[in-house]
Amino acid sequence: MNRELFHNTKTLAGLIWRRDRIQIPIWIISIVAFSIAIALAFPALYPPGPERQVVVQTMQNPALISMVGPIFGVDNYHMGAIMAHQMLLFTAVVVAIMNITLTIRHTRRDEESGRIEVIRSLPVGRLSNAASVLLVLSLTNLALGLIMALGLGVLGLEGMDWAGSFLYGAVLAVTGIFFAAATLFFAQLTETSRAAMGFSYGFLGAAYLLRAVGDIGTEALSYISPLGLVLRAQVYVRNFWWPVLIVLAAAGVIAVLALRLNTVRDLEAGFVAAKPGRRNASRLLQSPFGLALRLEKTTIIGWAVAMLVLGMSYGSVFADVEDFVQTTELYQQILPSVAGFSANDLFLAMLLSVMSMVGAIPSLLVMLKLRAEERANRTEHLLARAVSRPQLLASFLVISLVIAVVMQLLGILGVWLGASSVLENPFPLSETIWAGLAYVPPMWIMVGLGAFLTAFAPKWTRLVWLYLGYILFTDYFGGLLQLPEWMGKLTPWGHIPEVPLETIGFGTVLGSLLVAVVLIGLGFYGYRHRDIYG
């Protein structure tokens, strides 16, 4: 390749480092510190002895495996095997998110805002920016992997030897590099950072889902997913290096492809061509409500499809759930005898709850769009015309509340369709829907929280995402880490019983709705009385 294309790459890498010198270390330190803290908690949670072997058998259930990945080293479930089983996938996903965020920030987002144009007017090569992003992120991921390896290795816990620790770090590093390359690729295809972000997270979600289905049923699917593949390294158990090398090679191929696309396209252009639009506004686009709907149209449709697909993929796993239970004797003994319900019911309850948490994301995206519009200085177009503050807030709020229900229904429908296609005696649809709707009130509380923050702390609306992260975290780790019960009770979901295993009381529904209503009411009051910032 032409050296001209990469002129001044190192200088640009310096600029990226200068801009992110706080952000990158924070990412690395928090990921490593969190992993070490969890690793240190394991010996107390899983004391050695026959009891531990019983626990590992109960963990061989499809609901858990679909979430955290397969267990390797069932026979000797030592600290290393526990760490790789319970933490590696989760950490790899966080590392992927870090890489997606940072890559978009320095590619499409910079291009969109015209900063790349300024850079390109200087003596730098056409590929220098993309190459510098890859360079900085590769180094970041390697540093993360190395620090992680040293951090885990030095703990000297049972089964966590140095060879395994270095592999653990390497798995995270290559996963990061892979997603940086993939994001760089998507950033070439689309014209906006928003779309590039959508593609990248969609890709991450698909990789996770493919692995979930593969881990329970057809294992070949797990080998196609980068996340599924890296888990096959069997860290701390058999320590295979070949998955790391394959993923690294794949990352290389994708990176070259992305750079190739970058050289042939125009600045600020994508490969999805823009076609001439409407000359006049449609019948829909006649009110703030219509505008909100129009702006979020793609998001809503995309998420609707995603919810249906997610539900169907998970639903199709039910057949394997039964097989699984039949082959795992211990599991068979424990669950039905204790509670009197089947593994299928347990799995369904988990799915319905998780669907509602995922469905809260598009719902919140719409609610927080109002603040995003304000930040982009576009609400003033509306407020300077005959649109009142309550009307504007209501437009986004109503759509957001409705979407919560729609997303949950689609998720339920997906689960039901998937389950019906594989089960001989599928669940009745109406009962499944009623059970799933029990999880709508917590979604509305999240929307209410979004409205409340938009009104009273507009600079901090993103805290909702942090809270949702906490919710997913306690749900994911609640059982694994044996977190205290109050941590789960701090979330709106913590108060909803596991429908359909348990029945939900009228009081619980009313209480949840009341919280949502109060938050929304305060939102209206506050939004009416504050300054609008550009």
């Binding site: 506004a281 702006l295 005959a386």
Partner: protein
């Protein structure tokens, strides 16, 4: 009748005082210029007028109603063009114009098409592909297509080419002829001079000058070039004379407006052969005030 009245408005952001007891009054049928350097408080003032920001103290009234609490009623009769026009990148210009016009309720299709033609805009393109000038055109077309009583324009021509500036000036004259009022914040002083009846100058959050252009000109200096039969003694020491440059048989200098009469009387005693005086431009006035601030 006052369409717009701002009375002792103060706006604080934390401990920073963005506006300090400002007063403004725009009468019906008047084009009012609002000028000042960057960061003087022009946009903050306009946002208070629009009820987007709440004044810390004082009152802002449009059409006799309170800018904050009656915002929607007021906005039914008002059209606004922001200085920095941010539009939705995935909507077309045509869609945005329709949407803006529709929010007010009126729908004058002929007027819209006529303005699109006059401003030479392609309404089928996505706003994300528009240049700054084209985004400004979208906002201007939406504003002038509306049948408003008051037009609030915040540096509306900063991205337009000279030809489009002329179209803009025509539009302002048309709405003025129709008896509407215009509140025009601008940096382009020649434009303000051409269009405005009265002007306020704002500096560091305070209104430092208000009046018609004629009135304001009296406050500043006139450039004078004179040739006389005899040399003029002591001209440099005469009250109100500045920047004196003498040459063989004459001199050029500046005179304060208030002393112009006395100075002319004095030099006329030396046999004036030629006299040129240039009235001060708004630019001189502006720079004069701006320099004082530093």
């Amino acid at each position: 009748m006052a369409i717009l009245r701002v009375n002792e408005v103060t706006k604080k952001f934390g401990s920073f005082t963005a506006l300090d007891r400002i007063n403004l009054e725009v009468k019906q049928g008047e084009v009012y210029g609002f000028i000042g350097p960057n960061g003087a408080g022009k946009t903050t003032t306009i946002r208070i007028l629009l009820g987007i920001l709440k004044a810390t103290s004082g009152s802002a009234q449009l059409f006799g109603k309170d800018a904050w609490s009656d915002a929607v009623e007021i906005h039914k009769r008002l059209a606004y063009v922001p200085g920095e026009v941010n539009l939705w990148p995935n909507l077309t210009g045509g869609e945005v114009i329709d949407f803006f016009v529709k929010l007010r309720g009126a729908n004058n299709v002929n007027r819209r098409e006529e303005l699109i033609e006059r401003f030479d805009l392609d309404p089928t393109k996505k706003c994300g592909t528009y240049s700054k000038g084209n985004r400004q055109k979208v906002a201007l077309i939406a504003a002038f297509a509306a049948d408003a009583d008051l037009y609030i324009l915040d540096e509306p021509t900063s991205g337009l080419d000279p030809l489009m500036e002329l179209v803009f000036q025509e539009c302002v004259r048309e709405v003025k002829a129709a008896g509407k009022s215009v509140f025009l914040s601008s940096h382009i002083l020649s434009e303000v001079e051409k269009l405005c009846d009265r002007v306020s100058i704002i500096r560091q959050g305070r209104i430092i000058e208000t009046g018609s252009l004629q009135e304001l000109r009296h406050l500043t200096r006139t450039q004078v070039r004179v040739e006389t039969a005899q040399p003029i003694p002591n001209l440099g020491e005469t009250l109100g004379v500045h920047d004196l440059e003498e040459f063989d048989g004459g001199a050029t200098f500046q005179v304060d407006g208030e002393h112009l009469g006395e100075v002319i009387k004095y030099i006329s005693g030396f046999g004036i052969l030629a006299l040129e005086s240039t009235p001060p431009t708004l630019e001189d006035l502006f720079i004069h005030h701006y320099r004082e601030a530093r």
